[in-house]
């Protein structure tokens, strides 16, 4: 089955073409326009997607080596995201499916991150999914295909946001995550101990405390010369705290529910310290799954992959030729219906 998938939930316009679970192309606007626009951070605006979508789509189809007439299934991100941004990709995808009279699968962006760990790995159930990105921090138990339970979420800042704002406080620039990661490699992670936040519900996360603690600490190191000499150690300590919080709660859930497979996805899953911590569990009989870097950021390949799984695991495939066209995109995650 040949699939066209569209993702426009936040900043990136992305289009992918798949043959069943195999990814034939995966084009992301900021990479496509990299040379043209000097690799700047993408514009934040729904209307940017309108400018990008046809170009990105054409490129994805060209790269895939198939013709657009061969497409048999269309998938698009339906939730969560900036509503104006979602609407662009959603309407584009729906129109494409309608014009060609082929099924349309709305895909939850969070579920797509969740299943992205299986793009290059065999399926294993049950598993625990930790989704960590600029906008999301979620711990999810998955018993089987599309049998999910959200165990915890962030109460304030997302993990990626904590990295980003931490970098901002330290005056390190953007994107904060990769800069801190790189700097931390040369730093002492035990240099300063930042507080590990406690939450009422045992699997929720909270990162605003560590951010504020960094701010207070850094403001006290007010002499530039002092800051200069310790910045890599502070970055390493800050990174250690955030990754430890993510690691600790995930392990606690894995032990409590006796789950041996853990999949970590989303942009922050690229963090090398986080990978190191989780990979160390392989020795204790855990299967640790990460997507490769191209599937960690927002991308359409994971949308197509998840849409295909959703279609194949559905008992009522007819739904996707009729009812699915009536579904509306939604800005927020519906935790109850997840």
């Amino acid at each position: 089955m040949k699939i066209l998938a569209i993702e426009t939930s936040c900043d990136e316009t992305s289009v992918s073409v798949l043959q069943d679970k195999k990814i034939l192309s995966n084009i992301i606007s900021s990479q496509l326009f990299h040379s043209e626009w000097g690799g700047v951070v993408p514009e934040i605006a729904s209307r940017e997607h309108i400018k990008n979508i046809s170009i990105v789509c054409e490129e994805a189809i060209k790269t895939s080596g198939i013709s657009k007439d061969e497409i048999e299934l269309v998938c698009a991100t339906s939730t969560p995201g900036l509503i104006g941004a979602l609407l662009v990709g959603y309407s584009f995808a729906k129109s494409f499916a309608l014009a060609k009279n082929i099924p349309f699968v709305p895909v939850n962006h969070i579920q797509a991150h969740l299943y992205s760990v299986f793009i290059e790995n065999d399926f294993r159930f049950p598993f625990l999914g930790l989704i960590v990105s600029g906008g999301h921090t979620l711990l999810i138990q998955v018993d089987d295909f599309f049998k999910h339970k959200i165990l915890g979420t962030t109460l304030d800042d997302a993990a990626g946001e904590a990295f980003d704002k931490g970098a901002k406080i330290l005056g390190l620039g953007y994107p904060g995550g990769p800069i801190i990661d790189k700097l931390a490699k040369r730093g002492n992670k035990n240099f300063h101990s930042f507080p590990i936040s406690k939450t009422e519900s045992e699997f929720d996360f909270s990162f605003s405390g560590v951010k504020t603690s960094l701010l207070n600490y850094w403001n006290k190191q007010n002499k530039n010369s002092e800051q200069e000499s310790v910045i890599k150690d502070v970055a390493a300590s800050y990174q250690e705290t955030i990754s430890e919080m993510l690691f600790r709660k995930t392990i606690k859930a894995a032990e409590k529910f006796d789950i041996k497979t853990i999949g970590i996805s989303g942009g922050v899953s690229a963090n090398s310290r986080l990978r190191e911590k989780f990979n160390s569990l392989s020795k204790s009989g855990y299967n640790i799954l990460f997507p490769s870097l191209q599937y960690t950021i927002d991308n359409a390949a994971m949308i197509g992959f998840t849409g295909y799984l959703k279609f194949m695991n559905s008992e009522n495939k007819n739904y996707f030729s009729t009812e699915s066209f009536k579904e509306k995109p939604l800005a927020r995650i519906e935790i109850k219906n997840f």
């Binding site: 605006a45 729904s46 600029g134 906008g135 901002k168 701010l215």
Partner: protein, 141 residues
Amino acid sequence: MNIKISNSEQETISLGTEFASQINLGEVIGFSGNLGSGKTHFIKGICEYFKVVDSVNSPTFLIVNEYSAVKDNFFFEVYHFDLYRIKNHNEIVNLGLDNYFKNNAVVLIEWIENADNLIIPDKLIKFSYGVNENERLIEFL
């Protein structure tokens, strides 16, 4: 001008709940102030007052969170914006804010200072650091 002092995240949340009774439907409330100065916690307090059950967290990356709210048995939406990542006028204009400014919604905008005066809030709240580590000054303008 009215300034309140908070000494903890919990106090900031309570001040938000207290303030929320003064919000009218259809209003746009702006929040300014640096990282970690208490804007999101204050908004958590406002949302508590409006009985929001969705988790209220920072929309820095997503730009806006939408919550279902209720007051006096009247159901409405709260739009929680964060303009932290906004870099220029163009982005403000292209956000499509007109979709959100409605008579039957409450709009809360963090980092309103990044809107370059393109958005005039009905009420403005300024956050700043106090002398002590956890002290925050909350100024109602």
